[in-house]
Symmetry: C2
Subunit: 351 residues, 2 copies
C-alpha cells in the first residue's frame, strides 16, 4: 500500500472539541534550531525556603501568615484578576465598544508543604489529596460562579513565579471563551449522536491506541488528534462524568495514579522538570449547576511548551498568532515518544 | 460624576473583529513581579555578519548563495511549513478524526542588506521599499493561494532566530482560523450596517482619540478596545481598502511614515528594540480574488509581548490558555503611554 500518508505531508486537522483547525507540517521537524534557548530550571531546592510565601509558617504579601499546614492549603489570591464585589457599572451603549462587568474570585492552591516537590514527585496518596482539593474548590465556588477554572502554571517558562508546588483557581460569573467553544461543540455532537463527544472520542482512541499515552481502568490520556502543543495531552474519564466532584473514590484514586504516570513520563522525556499549563474543564456551574448538560464530559488539558529538548520550546508566534497554530511533529509521533518512556522517575533511576 | 468607571474594575470587552471576549483586570497592575525575566537583545551588531545566512553574499542552508542585494530580497524558505505540491492524500472518513490536505508556499523577506538595522531604524524611503515588497508578495502569491499571510517575528523572545531585519510570507490554499473569524465578523457587520466594520471603527477611534497612538492623512494606529497584548496595535487605512496592492503611491508613503512613527514609539517605550509579531490581513485572494468582498478592510496587527519593562513580558498561560486571555493595564492606559512618547529614536537622543 503506497498511497501517500497524511502524516507525511502538510495538512490541517479539525479540533472537534474547540471547533477550529490546526496546521500540521510533519516534514518540518528537520529544521535546525538557531533561536532562543531557555534556562532549564534549577534542580536543587530546599524542602523549606524561608523566603517562599507559600511555605508553611511564612508571611505573604497581604501580611497574613501561612498556617503550619501538612497537606494541601488554600488561600485567597492577593492579586486577584477577578473580584467578588463589583459596583454597578456604566455600560457602553456603543455597538463598536461592547463590554460587560464581571464578578469572581481567585485563590492559590498549595499542593504540598514541601518546597522541593512537584506533582510528578509526589506519592499517589499525596496526589489524591490534590485531586480532593481541586474537587472541593469546584463544589464550593460552583455554588456561586458559572465557571470555576482550576489550573496549574508549572515552570518559570510558563510565567510561574514560585517553584513551590501550587496551582490556582479563578472562578467567574461568565462562560469564558474556551469554555463557550467547548460547550457549543459538545452540544452539537450530542444533538446529532445522542452521546457525549469526548466519550465517543475516548473510545475511538482506545480502539486505535495510536495516540494513547497512558490508560487505566477509569481514565485515558491521549495526545489528541488536534493537539496544538508538541506534547499536549487530553485526559478523560471512561464513563460519562460531568465534573470533578462527581468522581467516585475509586475514580479519584485512579486519577491520582494516571496523573503520576503521565507527569513522570513528561519529566522523563527531556530529563527535566517539564513545564506546562494544565487545567480542568467540566460542565458549567452556578446558575447552570442543576440544568441537565449531558453533552458535557469532564477532562483536563495539559499544554506543555517544550519541543526539542529541555531548552528549546515551540514558539506560538507570527503565523500562529495571525493565522493558525502550526505544529511540526505529528500527535502520533508525540504519543509514541511519551508512551515508550519508563514510568520510573529519572532522578531515581540515576541513583 | 462619581459613578464607578468600567476602566477601574474587572470587566470583559468584546473583540468585534474576531468575535471573542477578553478579560480586563485594571486593578491588577499593582501586582509585584517575581517571575522569569528575559534577556534584553544584544544592542551592538555589525552591519555585515559573515555567519548570517541573510546577509548579502552569504551561503544559506540550502547551499544557495545570496546575491549582493542592496534593497529588499526574497527567497523560498528552506524549511517551509507549506509545500506547493501535495500528493493526492488519503482522507479520514471518521467524523472524530477530520483532516484536509493543504498546499502552499513559504518565503523569507529580507528588509535590508544591513544586518544591524530594524524597521524602526530604517528611513521612510527604505520602509516604503519593504511595503512594496509585502504588496508584491500578495499580488504574486495571491494569484494561486486563498490566504497570503505576510508577517514579521521580531526578537529572540518571539522565536526569531536571526536578528537580521526580515519577515516571512506563508501562503496557503485555505482560510486559516483567524482569517475565517475576521471574515465572518466583518461580513456580519456589513450586512447590518452596509459599511466595513473597520472603517466605522477607525472613525469611532478618531472621534474619541482615547486609544489612538499615531495618525496621519491616510492611516490610524490604535490600541484596540479589545486588545489582548499589553501594547497591541491595530493599524488601519482611513478609506475602504481591501488589500495592500490596492494602496495608492501616496498611501504607501503615508504607511511607511506611520510605521516608522509607531515602531520608534515601541522602541522608545522601554528603550530596547521592541519584540513583536506583526502581520497583514486583507481580503482573501486566489479563488476569492475577483469576488466582491466589500466587508473586508485591510489592516495590520502588532502583537508585542512586553508588559512592564525590557525584561518582563506578559505570559499568556494558565487561565489564558484554558479559559480566556486576560490583560492588566487598560488599552486606554497603553495608548496614552505610547502616544506620549517622543518620535525621535532613543539611541539618537542619547548621543
Ligand atoms: O519560521 P521560523 O522563523 O523558523 O519559525 C518561527 O516562526 C514560525 C512562524 O511564525 C513559527 O511557526 C515557529 O514556531 C517560530 O519558531
Ligand atoms: O497569577 P500569576 O501566577 O501571578 O500570573 C500568571 O498566571 C496568570 C493566570 O494564568 C496569567 O494571567 C499571568 O500572565 C501569569 O504571569
Amino acid at each position: 500500500h503506497t498511497r501517500p500518508k497524511l502524516a507525511d505531508w502538510p495538512h490541517r486537522r479539525f479540533d472537534l472539541l474547540q471547533g477550529r483547525w490546526v496546521l500540521v507540517s510533519p516534514h518540518r521537524t528537520r529544521r535546525p534550531w538557531l533561536g532562543q534557548t531557555e534556562k532549564p530550571p534549577a534542580e536543587e531546592r530546599p524542602a523549606y525556603d524561608p523566603h517562599c510565601y507559600l511555605c508553611p509558617g511564612n508571611r505573604r504579601a497581604s501580611g497574613a501568615v501561612n498556617p503550619p499546614y501538612t497537606g494541601t492549603f488554600v488561600f485567597p489570591n492577593d492579586f486577584a484578576a477577578l473580584l467578588p464585589d463589583a459596583p454597578g457599572l456604566e455600560e457602553s451603549a456603543d455597538p463598536l465598544l461592547r463590554a460587560m462587568p464581571v464578578r469572581g474570585e481567585c485563590r492559590v492552591l498549595c499542593f504540598s508543604p514541601r518546597h522541593d516537590l512537584t506533582l510528578a514527585e509526589m506519592t499517589v496518596e499525596e496526589i489524591a489529596r490534590v485531586v480532593d482539593m481541586w474537587s472541593d474548590q469546584i463544589t464550593d465556588l460552583g455554588t456561586r460562579y458559572r465557571w470555576v477554572q482550576v489550573f496549574e502554571n508549572k515552570g518559570a517558562i510558563m510565567g510561574c513565579s514560585n517553584p513551590h508546588p501550587h496551582g490556582q483557581v479563578w472562578a467567574g460569573d461568565f462562560l469564558p471563551r474556551e469554555a463557550a467553544a467547548e460547550d457549543e461543540q459538545q452540544g452539537r455532537w450530542y444533538e446529532t449522536h445522542g452521546r457525549p463527544l469526548l466519550l465517543d472520542y475516548a473510545r475511538r482512541e482506545l480502539d486505535s491506541g495510536e495516540r494513547v499515552v497512558a490508560v487505566n481502568a477509569h481514565w485515558v490520556g491521549v495526545v489528541p488528534w488536534w493537539a496544538v502543543w508538541p506534547f499536549e495531552v487530553l485526559l478523560m474519564p471512561l464513563r460519562p462524568v460531568q465534573r470533578l466532584p462527581d468522581l467516585t473514590d475509586e475514580e479519584r484514586r485512579a486519577l491520582a495514579e494516571i496523573l503520576q504516570d503521565l507527569l513522570i513520563r513528561y519529566d522523563n522525556l527531556f530529563e527535566v522538570s517539564f513545564p506546562y499549563s494544565m487545567g480542568w474543564h467540566g460542565a458549567p456551574t452556578g446558575p447552570d449547576q442543576d440544568r441537565p448538560q449531558p453533552h458535557w464530559q469532564l477532562h483536563a488539558h495539559f499544554y506543555p511548551p517544550l519541543l526539542r529538548s529541555a531548552t528549546v520550546k515551540k514558539f506560538m508566534v507570527g503565523y500562529e498568532m495571525l493565522a493558525e497554530p502550526q505544529r511540526d511533529l505529528t500527535p502520533e509521533q508525540a504519543a509514541e515518544r511519551l508512551r515508550s518512556l519508563p514510568t520510573v522517575y529519572y532522578k531515581r533511576r540515576q541513583q
